[in-house]
Amino acid sequence: MIIDAISLLMLGAGGFFVFMGGVGALRLPDLYTRMHAASLTDSLGTILTLGGIMLQSGWSLATVKLATILFFLLMTAPTSAYALANAALMSQGDDAPPAPEG
């Protein structure tokens, strides 16, 4: 019962953070701030959402798989954020914002 309540709460909060990340990525002014919004909320939203499902499914193979997915996502998402920021920086000078494509 309590576990149900916690997991529902986590799912709700996860959905909220995911949505806020989307809003941030859409409305913030330049690439690096958008990246900031997207990657931070991605981590928290992922943890909360997958955690909520994990609590619901109890001790089973599904939980193990979900934990694995969560682990890999937490490894790869910052890595791709790093690679993206590097690529954006490298394509321009050191502090100039990336120019529009042409």
């Binding site: 799912l11 499902i53 798989k65 890595t79 690679a83 993206l84 954006a88 990336p98 529009p100």
Partner: protein, 88 residues
């Protein structure tokens, strides 16, 4: 609440798509692709759980494992363009 979370994820997918359409730089689009992948993993996990067939989580696992290879390829692509063709 599951459906609320799933709806939030789909709306966020739409927002990321708008970002991908607006640009203005190609890196904004790569960022949108990145967000989109995470959202797909979450959505697939939720739906696999809701439909009661958790063995379909393999799809989410595949995305979680190999999504970053594409972004690394972007980094490599940019790096290759910047570097001189050959050593003297």
């Amino acid at each position: 609440m599951y459906y609320a979370a799933a709806a939030a994820i789909i709306v966020t997918m739409a927002l990321a798509l708008i970002r991908a359409l607006l640009g203005p730089t190609v890196y904004d689009r790569v960022l949108a692709v990145n967000m989109f992948t995470t959202k797909t993993v979450l959505l697939v996990s939720l739906i696999a759980f809701l439909s009661g067939r958790p063995d379909f989580l393999d799809l989410a696992l595949a995305y979680a494992l190999i999504n970053f290879v594409g972004v690394l390829a972007v980094l490599e692509f940019v790096q290759k363009k910047r570097r001189p063709r050959r050593l003297p």
